[in-house]
Structure formats: C-alpha cells, structure tokens
Symmetry: C5
Subunit: 348 residues, 5 copies
Amino acid sequence: MKNYKHEHKIMNENTAKLSLLAYNPVSFVETVVQDIRDCTQLRQEHEVMWINLDGVKDSKQVKKVGMYFDLHPLLIEDICNTNIRPKIEFYQDHIFVSLKMLSYQREEKNLFIEQVSLILGNNYILSFQEDIEGDVFEPIREKIRKQHNGKVRNSNAAYLFYSMLDAIVDGYTITLEDINEGLEKLEEEIIEKEAERNPTKELYEFRKKLKSVYKHINPVREISSVLLRTENDTMKSVQQLQKVHIYLQDVNDHTLQVIENAEAYIDATANLLDLYLSILSNKTNDVMKFLTIFSSIFLPLTFIAGVYGMNFEKMPELHFEYGYYAVWGLMLAIALGTYWYFKNKRLF
Amino acid sequence: MKNYKHEHKIMNENTAKLSLLAYNPVSFVETVVQDIRDCTQLRQEHEVMWINLDGVKDSKQVKKVGMYFDLHPLLIEDICNTNIRPKIEFYQDHIFVSLKMLSYQREEKNLFIEQVSLILGNNYILSFQEDIEGDVFEPIREKIRKQHNGKVRNSNAAYLFYSMLDAIVDGYTITLEDINEGLEKLEEEIIEKEAERNPTKELYEFRKKLKSVYKHINPVREISSVLLRTENDTMKSVQQLQKVHIYLQDVNDHTLQVIENAEAYIDATANLLDLYLSILSNKTNDVMKFLTIFSSIFLPLTFIAGVYGMNFEKMPELHFEYGYYAVWGLMLAIALGTYWYFKNKRLF
Amino acid sequence: MKNYKHEHKIMNENTAKLSLLAYNPVSFVETVVQDIRDCTQLRQEHEVMWINLDGVKDSKQVKKVGMYFDLHPLLIEDICNTNIRPKIEFYQDHIFVSLKMLSYQREEKNLFIEQVSLILGNNYILSFQEDIEGDVFEPIREKIRKQHNGKVRNSNAAYLFYSMLDAIVDGYTITLEDINEGLEKLEEEIIEKEAERNPTKELYEFRKKLKSVYKHINPVREISSVLLRTENDTMKSVQQLQKVHIYLQDVNDHTLQVIENAEAYIDATANLLDLYLSILSNKTNDVMKFLTIFSSIFLPLTFIAGVYGMNFEKMPELHFEYGYYAVWGLMLAIALGTYWYFKNKRLF
Amino acid sequence: MKNYKHEHKIMNENTAKLSLLAYNPVSFVETVVQDIRDCTQLRQEHEVMWINLDGVKDSKQVKKVGMYFDLHPLLIEDICNTNIRPKIEFYQDHIFVSLKMLSYQREEKNLFIEQVSLILGNNYILSFQEDIEGDVFEPIREKIRKQHNGKVRNSNAAYLFYSMLDAIVDGYTITLEDINEGLEKLEEEIIEKEAERNPTKELYEFRKKLKSVYKHINPVREISSVLLRTENDTMKSVQQLQKVHIYLQDVNDHTLQVIENAEAYIDATANLLDLYLSILSNKTNDVMKFLTIFSSIFLPLTFIAGVYGMNFEKMPELHFEYGYYAVWGLMLAIALGTYWYFKNKRLF
Amino acid sequence: MKNYKHEHKIMNENTAKLSLLAYNPVSFVETVVQDIRDCTQLRQEHEVMWINLDGVKDSKQVKKVGMYFDLHPLLIEDICNTNIRPKIEFYQDHIFVSLKMLSYQREEKNLFIEQVSLILGNNYILSFQEDIEGDVFEPIREKIRKQHNGKVRNSNAAYLFYSMLDAIVDGYTITLEDINEGLEKLEEEIIEKEAERNPTKELYEFRKKLKSVYKHINPVREISSVLLRTENDTMKSVQQLQKVHIYLQDVNDHTLQVIENAEAYIDATANLLDLYLSILSNKTNDVMKFLTIFSSIFLPLTFIAGVYGMNFEKMPELHFEYGYYAVWGLMLAIALGTYWYFKNKRLF
C-alpha cells in the first residue's frame, strides 16, 4: 500500500505476481500462475475461480490478463491508473469495481492507501492490487482453505465478491478506529493538562488524514447503493448479484456507518481545535490580567520611591522624623488598596 | 445501558434473561422463560405475544430465539452487534428495527446508550436489549397488566410495536430536555456572571453529548418515514402496519421534532461559545486598555522623578526655592492631562 | 400567548372560552357558547360556522368539542399538547392544521408564541387557541361583522380558512419586522459609535429569538405547499380548497418570503457579530500599539536618568559643565528619534 | 428606484404616468395615455402593444388598467405591493412576472431597487414600475423606434417580453460588476498597504449590499426555469412563449451566471475579512514581540542603575576606580546578550 | 489564454486564424484556410473535418464560419462573448459546448483561462478559441498526423469530440496539481518553520485562484452528465454520441474527480489558514507569558532599589553593616521565588 502522501515505492515494473485460487464445495486449488492461459482447465473443474494480481505497475501482465478475460481497453487503463476515483461499471459479462484498501500504523501515524480493482465475472473474480505485499483478503483465503462446509466454499462467485467488499469496508472501520484512538488521546491531553502543549499541528495532521480517508470512502456509498439497485436488471452480469442481495445490503449498512463515523471524526477535530483555542484565549486573558494587576501595584510604588530619591535642596518630607516610615505606610496602603480594588470590583 | 464513552460493563455472557408477556382482551400471562420452545402453546392461546431478551452479549440465547422464530443469520448477527447504525429491514414474515434507547443522569452528566432490536412478526413482538437492567417499556407493561379495556390489550401486535417505538422516541425527548436544562444553566451563568468561570470544557462536553445523541436519533427519521410509506405494500409482514398507520404518523412527527430539537441545541452550544469568546475578547480589550492608561500616566512621572534624582553637579532646578513643589505640580499636570486625553478623545 | 422562554402562565384549567361566529351573506350570529351541542341549529341556518376555543389547557372542553365534531383521539391530543411541531393532516371529513401565532413587544423585547389549531370541516372552522386572551383574527371578525358584501361573508369555509392562515402569516411578518427594527438600531450603534458598548449579549438574544421564530415558521412552508398540491385529490375534505387555490398560492408566497426574511435576519446577526469583533480586534491592536510606542519612548529615558542617578565616586559626566543639559539633549534626541522611527517605518 | 435601505421617496400618489408603445413591422405609435380605454383602437391596428405605468403607488390608476385587461384582484394587489418576492404566475390569458430592477451608483455607493411587474398577454405587454423615473428598457424602445427591420419589430409580444427580461438581467450583471469594482479596490488596498486602514465597515457594507442583491435575484432562477419548462403546456397564455424558447434559454443562462457571480462576490467579502483579520493578528503579534524585546532589554538595565543609585553606607563597588565603567560594561553585555538571545533562539 | 485577473491581451481584431484538419483512415489534410467556403470539397473527401478558429474577437470571421455551417445567431453570439458560463446546447444538426481551457505557470503563479467553444456536427468539429496562441489539442493533432492506424483516425467525429473534451479536462487536472504543489510547499513551510513568515496573503491568492478554477470547472459536471444521458434521444445530432458512450463515461469520471480535488484543495487552504492562526495565537500567548514573567521579576526588584535610593534623613537600613548585602539577598530571594512560583504553579 502507498502512504497517503503519495510516496510511491520504487519497484521493478515487471514484478507483478499472479496467483489463483479455485474452489468448489469438494476441493480447492491454490497456485501461483506464470501464464494466464494455464488457468483455462482449472476454470472448468471448479465452481469459482479467483485470480489475484499484485502490482498493477506491471501493465503488460495486467493487459495479458485483461485480454484473456476480454476486458475493455478503458477498463484495463483504469486498473493500471492508481489515482482513479472509486467507481463501479457494468459490462455485459462482468462488473468492474475500483476502490481503495486502507490501513494505518498507530505508532508511526502513517496512513496507507492501496487501490484494488475487482471484476466479478460469470464464475470468476479478478482482483488487481496496486502493491505486491499485504491485503485484507487473507481471512477469506483461510476460510476457503479450511472451511469446506463454509458459506464461501458453497456459494457462487458473487458471494466471494461480497466477502471481498466486506473485508475492504471492515478495513475502513479499523483504520478509522485506529485514527480516532489517537484523536481521543489528544482530546484527553487537551482537557486534562489544560492545553499545555500546542496540539495544533497534530490536530491538523489528524484532520488531513481523516479528510483523505473520507475522500476515498465516500464514493463507496454510491457503489454499494448501485449494487443494491440491480434487482430488476436483465444484464447477465448482475443476475448472480441477486442471490447475495441481503449480503450487499449488509455491506451498504456498514459503508453508511463508516462514512458517518468519518464525518463525525472530522467534525471532532474542528471541535477540538475550537476547544484548544478557547482555552488558549482564556489563558492569554489570564496572563494579561496578571501583568496588569502586577503593573498597577508596582508602577505607583516605584514612582513614589523615585519622588523621594530626587535631589531637590528643599524637600521637607525628607527631614520628617518618621518620613521614611510614613512613605512605607503610604506605599503599603496603595498596594493593598489596589489589590482590594481588583478583588472587589471584578473590574475585569 | 452503556455510557456514551463506550465503557462496557463487564458481565457474564451467559446471563441473558428471557421474559414473555402474552395477552388478549380477556387475559394476560407474564412469565420468565427458560427455553424458548415453552412458549409455543402460549402463542396459540393469546392474540399478541411479546418476548423480551435482556443481554444480547449472550449470543447463544439470541441464536436459540432467532432460530425458533426463523430469523436470518445476518439479522441475528445484527442483534448481537451492539454498534450498528439504527435501521429497518423488511423480511417476508417480519419487520426488523434496530435503534438506541437513550437516558441521561442530570447530576453526573452521564449519557447512557443502549441498543434495542425490535422484530414485529405476525402476532408477536421480539425485543432484544443490550443490557440486563432498565428499559423504557415499563409503562407499556403496566398498561397491559392493568387496563384490560385499554387500547393495547384490544389491538394487534402492530399497535404494541407502535407503543414501543413511541416510548423510545419519548425517551429521546426526555434525554434531550435533560441535557438542555444543563445547557440553559450554563447560558445563564455566562450571561449573568459575565463569563467569570471558563465554561469552554463544559460546552465542549455538552456539544459532544448532543452530537452523539444526534448521531443515534437521526437515522430514526428514515426508519419512521419508511414505516409510513408501506401503505400499498403486499408483503405479509407490513400489512398489519396499515391498521396503525395514523399512529406511525404520530411517531414520525415526534421523531422529526426531536431531531429538530437536537439540531437546535447543537446550534445553541456553538452560539454560546461565540458569546463567551466575544465577552472574553471584550474583557481582554478592557484589561489592555487599563494597563495602557495606567502605564501612560506613570511612565512619564517616574521618568521625571528619575531626572531630578540624577547627581549632576550643576542642575539649577534643584536649587530653586520651590523646585520640588514645581515638579509635583508638573507631574500632577501631566497625570491629569493624560487622564483627560483618554477620557475625551476616546482614542481607543 | 406564551413567552418563548417557556414561562407558562398559571391559569385555571377549567376556563376555556368557547365562542361561535356563524354567517351567511344575509346575516351573522356571534355568541359565547356554553354547551357545544347548542350550536347544531345555528349550523343549519348559516353557510359557515366558526367555533373558537380559547385555552386548550382545559382538555375536557376540547374533548367535548372534538367528540361533537367526531375528531380522532390523536388529533384531540395534538390540540391539547402545546409543544407540537407545526403540521397538517388530512382526514376524510376535515383538514387539521396546527401552527403558532407570534407577537413581539418592541419595548420589553419579549417574543410571545401561542399555538393555534385549525380544523376545516365541510362548512365549519374550528380554531383552538393556547391562551385565553388575544389573537390575530380580530380583523377577520370585523370584516364578517361589517362587510356583508365582503368576500368573506360571500364565500365558503375554505375562504375563511385562508383568511385565518393569511392573518397568522401576516403576524409572522410583523413580528420579524419588529425584531429587525431592534437589530437595525444595534447595527447603527455599532457602526457609528465604533462599538463603544459591548453588544454581544444583545446580539445573542436577537439571534436566539430569530432562531426560535425560524423554528416555528419553517415547517409552515411544508403546510402551505401541501395545501397547494391538493388539486387532483378526491378526498371530500380537500375539494373546497380548490375554490380558493389562488388564495392559497398567495399564502404560500408570503410564507416563502417571511422564511427568507428570517434567514436573512439570522444571517445579519452573525455578520454584525463579525463586524463588532473585527472592530474590537482593531481597537485592541491600536491600544497595544499605543502602549508599545509609549513604552519604547520612556523606557530608555528612565534608564538614562537612572544611570546618572548612580552614586559611583568616579562618574566624569557628572562634573561636566553642561552635563545635565547634554543629557537632556540626549534624551530629547532619543525620544524624537523613536517617534520618527515609528512614524516613518510604519513598522507595525 | 428606491435605495436598498428602504428610504422611500415621498411622492404624490396620484402621479402615475401611463405611456403606450404599439408597433408592427410597418409602423409604430408612442404616446402618453390619459385613459386606458383610449388604447382599444391602437390595439387593433398594431401587432404588439406595450403599456407602461410608472408609479404603482397610484393604486387607482393600476386598478383601472387592471380592470381593463381583466386582471385578478390578487394580481393587482401584488403589483401595488412593492415588497413582494420575485415570482411568476400563469393565468388563462396572461403570464404575470414580478421582479426587481437594480442599479448602483459607484461614487456614492448607493444601491437602488425598483420593483417591476410584467404581464404578457395575447398581443400586449403591461409593465408596472415602482417609481416614475428611469428604467432599463430605453434601449428596447430605441430599437422599436429606429430599427423597423429589427427583430423586435418583426416578432410577437413574447419576444418583447424576452427583451425586457434580458434587459433586467443585464442590469443585474452591471450592478454586480459595479459593486465588485469597489470590492476589488478594497482588496488591493488591504493587500498592498498591509491593512493600514480598518476596512471592516466597508466590507460589511459591501457584504450587506451583495446579500440584498442576491436576495432579489435568486428567485429569478425559478422564474426563468419555469418559463423554460412550459414547452408542452396547452394554456393559451404560454403558447407564444414557445416561439422564443431559445431566447428564454439565453435569459436562463445569464440568470444562472449572475447568481453564481453574486455568490462568488459574497464569498469574496468573507475571504477578504479573513485576510484582513489574519494580517491584523500578525501585526498585533509583531507589536507584542517588539514590546517584549524592548522591555526585556531595558528592565534589567534600569534595575542595575537603580541598584547603584541606592544610598547604603557601605557599597564597595561605588568606590572602585573603574566601577562606573564596569557597570556600563555589564549593562552593555546584558543588552547585547538579550538581543543575541532573541535573535538566535527564535524563542517566539 | 487570458490571466484570471481579466487582463485582456490587446490584439488586432481582424487576426482570427482559421485552420483545417481533415482525415480518414487513409489520408489527412492540414491547412490554413482563407475563406471558409474553400473547405466544401475537402469535406466530401474525408470522413472527419476539424475546423479550428483562433481569436474569437474577430467576430466577422466567426460569423462567416457560423453562417457557412448554419449556426443560430444566439450561438454565434455565445462564441464571441468570452465571459459565458460553461454550457451545452442541443440543436437539430449539431451540439454546442462552451467551456474553458486552463493553464498555470508555476514560477510566476499565473493562472490563464481561455474560452473554447466546440461544435459537433454530422461529420465535422468546429472549435473556436479565445486567443491565438496555444491550446491543449496538440497531442490530438499529433495522433491524427502520425497514427493512421490509431483510434482517432479510424473513428467518427464524436470520437474526436471526446478526445478534445478529454484533453481539456486533463488540462484541469494538471492545472490543479500545479497549484496544489505550491500549496504543499507553503504547508511545509508553515509546519516546519513554525509560521515565521506571514503566509496569509499567499494563502489568500491560492484560495482565490482555486475558487476561480472551481467556478469554471464545476459547470462541466452538468455538461458531461448531460452528454451521458442522451442514450435514447432521437435527435440526429446526438446519435453519433452513442458510439462513444463509454468514452464519455470516462470523461465524466475524470470531471467528477477533478471537481472533488478542487474542493479538497479549497478546503485545504482554509485548514492551512486555521493552522497558521492557531500557531500565531500560541506564539502571541508565549510572548505575553514571557513579558509577564520578566516584568513580574524585575518590577519588584526595581521598586526595592528605588526604596533604598530615597534620600530620607532617617533610614536605619542604610547604616546597617551588611544592609547592602541583605538587600541583594532579598532581591535574589524575590527573583528566585517568583521564578519558582511560575515554574511550579503553572498559573498560566
């Protein structure tokens, strides 16, 4: 996956990895494929075939797979271009969905974004991943490998398609919760430590990441609602979807919830910034008040001391027996009076 | 119910409590059920049966009930997952509604949120509550027990369903009014005491709670409007709703009002913060003005005193007969002049 | 009417006042009614009958009237509950509209809100007012009494219904203009007197009142647009509306305009607050600048005076013939230099 | 036209001026009319007749015209009431459009708003203007007078109607550009002169004017889109519109653009205020920094001078040979050190 | 192209340049045309003809071309008026699209906007560019010239039309990315250098440019979605569009993405301003704190020194053996105490 700051990993462009997972209720095959044409026979022997390609920068390999499955040139272009907006497209024989997988490192506060293209064909799934390593589909593979009575093994390709969408949307939820955890720590610090440290930059970074997440997951709302509205469609490609309609409803619910959460978290960063700035305004006001009270007490005193430090020949007070003590008394009276004034009039 | 900060109570996962309330105009039965299969006979003897399960963490019990009533596995999952977005789903034989019950402790300022799932079947209601203790349905139970001529006892399950929705939405109204009461106290304090105390954190907490409430009640708008739009539906499960259509309209009205109120209260927190910050800006300005006027008066005076404290051999003024008094006169003149200047020119 | 701060007047709950106004082009009857059943005969003799009940807290009376006119229990509940959101409901035989009458005391800045429920039946109007005293319908009564050739006397009940809606919406316009007048005075003061007085609280109060008004008049938009869309309806209760369709269009136009005005005035309070805060920021900046310039001039001078006030044995300058005058010259030079510096470099 | 501050010109209410312009491709007549009934014959002789009334305060004259052309009483009321929201209404025989003409004096910064009501009848146009002097239709009159081969002279009344709408919308564009010119001058001043002068009030005035313009032109969007959607209507009054459909599309485009511009300019005032306040914050920060650095340098120095100004009997330093010079050295060191400290650590 | 500040290049109005590019799969012709009528024959010999006119200020030439292709006078007006809102219009024989080409100079931070009008006729394209030099269509011309097996050469005029739209939208993407690059540099500076320099004006300029871009590209959303919704249209002019429907979908996707990006960048400028102002508030608070602590330490010390600088005859402390040292001790104690106080109580 790539960091959301668009730092692309350098990688050899010819290193796409093609793997295949074919299964029916009775058996399954998992293998790395060299030439896409090798899978023709496996396809006939199994109910569902899932071909996964890691590394779409290797556009040659993508094109080979695309041509084998008769994909439109524009569709192949969309697979290779890793900057496209999540979208869904219906073709006569297959459905194309492009979206992003998200993940987040809590310690380093890195957000990773990887584009994944899914194609649901008659009895196959093609998935094209931007990077070579890591995806959110491992639990599904495990289920296929181990649970031969499981729902996946006993269902059609559309169910696998649903499972993959579900895994991706679950990834969104986890990513958001991880980001939110950091945000809640920051909130606690601001509230309990009275905003000692300047949290502005951190808040800015959180907000930026959340907006980035939002931008990538918001279009999924359309995708999942389009998938739900296919009920009366006669296109061959969408008919198998109707068997998993209730599951797609589930994905749709999760998508709505995850988008609402993202909105709530973005809103929370704004509220936190407001909170911090309000506390800061309050502190600045307190500091000013302190300075003003302090100055109001000492400025007159220093002035009086200055007066009796003057060198005039004739200053009668200087020769009074208790002049010095009287001045101390005066200064004390002024200090206390000023203090009392601020205390009582609550002028500020 | 759980606190909105997601502090889950630890509880034994096998402690779900299953209770049953069956009635017809003539008689009613209220009992705790050990095995869901025991209720088969009661079901035949009474018009309406209401089965309530407290503690959905006990997923085994939930599953048992779910299988007895032939609920879809995804629906059972939704009942057990206490973090789902409020929603409504129509099945052939029943209607599923999931929403939140809210309550608020005014003293401790705690907001409690508990998920409740309602299923309206042919002549039964299932309700699944997140926690074991407390709900908003007690008044309904009282009516069933005591008013055998009452509307509930003499109506179908859909009327009970309406009554429960109504009780939940009433709970929203009460929760919001309780929160708002605290907000109004804060408003009074800010306005009357001129923002002596920093109310920022409290406002932040109120805002957060109101946003949390809003997030949970806003989706109910959809639910209640969907319930209203079922008039011409042929699904068996929704036909009984048509008999209580006018009551559902009532719930819808209440829902709209409670959501509008939540929006208004959220808006009020923002306005209050603006008010406080404006008052604070004003006070900071006043403090600065005071400091500036004070400094403007004493800085020149201290300077003059300093001048005549210098030790130059030849300073003619020092030897004047009335030099000292003249300087006092000068200083007084400066002080009064400055004061007059600020007073009249309203420079600031 | 009740104050928008929800201070309910204490009143005897049995004091509802029932009055009747029946008319046809030829004659009219106006009377206070003790028992609603007394009006049966009057109803037959006159084209249109308008029954008005003041004081809906007296729920017994409301129920009696409701039962006489065969109103649904939920509708009677809505009439007695003075906190419901403005709404319209269609029944087979009548149309129910609930909304608020508004009025404003310019001197005391009090906003009064009173709920009024209107029911348009076949040839009668029922109106239920929250309080006993005062309404906006007096001009209509006057027209009925005096203009026997007037449009009201010669039209059906729907025209009276329109007249009453129109009077209520006109009341909104007047209320808003009255509030706005206060707002414009405040604006003038802020602009001309350069924000001498802190207008924050007043602005906050205006904003709150305007939001309250907006909340009560915004739902009327729906009501009036629903009334317009009844053209092709076959319900008996709405057919008479079609004769006054062009008048309802008029009410709709007024409603739109009054809502737009409310939005504009709310927006104006925000702009005014921004204006005030900008002026305040400017003044704080000016005060700071003044203090800084003042300090920058006097701090060095006081320092120099302090230096030559030191008591070192050997300070050659003290013995110079013109030392004292030289220091004065130096200090003058510094003061002028600093002043010139600020004047010319416009550093701030 | 009236100033947007609602300062109505005092004028004699009986001074409405009625003028007539009738034309066909061959000839045209332009005359002032005393009695509306005089125009009956002219109407038969010419293809198109345009009757213009200046001064709708003279409601008697308006009514006479209205009755001659058989206008609905409510419509006549709308013509005389100069505070109505721009709107369109379809009658069997004519179309009624009410909107505002705008103009702006760049020097005095006055915005003028005048209501104009247009009625498109079978082969006539009625226009009712609020004030007596000035309108935006003069170029159209010129075209009618001089270009007998022109499009206006050779088209139906609907084309004249389009021309008038177009002239009004063009007036909006000009008004907005004139206001925007002032805004751009202010922007230049803020950016280049670093916000020397407080532009807050001016910005507030611009914003207020733009909002006023927006309020008056926004409803025109509806009017022009309604005019476009009349294509399949069978009402007699709208059929002639279909011949100028492409021209109405043009008006619609202009309207959309002028509304977008108004929104952009309103947005620009907000951005300019933000810019100014940011610059101001920066300046306040700079002033504070200057004061702090200055104080940090002089406070210690003055203190040291004060110390050696004390009169203790035993102060060894005072008797040192180079004590005075040492103190100067110390003070210089402190001053330079503080300066260096601020310069290097960039503490602020 | 013209700078977005509306500085129009002065140019001779008779300098429109008319060029022609006609092609079929076998051959192509590229020539400058003097008289539009010369192209009649070329039109018959080639599948597709593209006539490009640079410099629409030369309205005579535009009119000649327009009349040759039988364009509506209003359409010709729209071509010559370079300030119109992007729009699409359908005529019986052709489709008219008007939009803007954008480009950006990264160094000089200049945004250029040029209007371009496209007309898709039966087997021809007309393009009218505002300025004489430079456009975004050069790569398309290259493809036509060199790739005789290419998709353009072998497709109809609608494909060329798509290619041109695509090139324009690609230009938007590049422009936005170029602007965003500058914005990211500014962001880095604000975050890393702690807002040393005031970035307000630069941010304001970026925001203004982005808003200008947004204003010009947002209406393209409508255009491209209208182009997609033409599927079932029977108009001759739109039928050829159906062959490139999938490509238009592609343009639509790009448009949506570029608009979303523009919104995100505008939002980013607001967030950056907030970040800067928060950092600035923090710094002001720090400066104030520093000044206050510094003053709180030195004001009392200076006062004490002043006290013992007084010239009273009887001041016992002055004669104490260690009076001077005791005072130093006192002053040190006060200084340390104050420091300790601020350090420990975290009063601010």
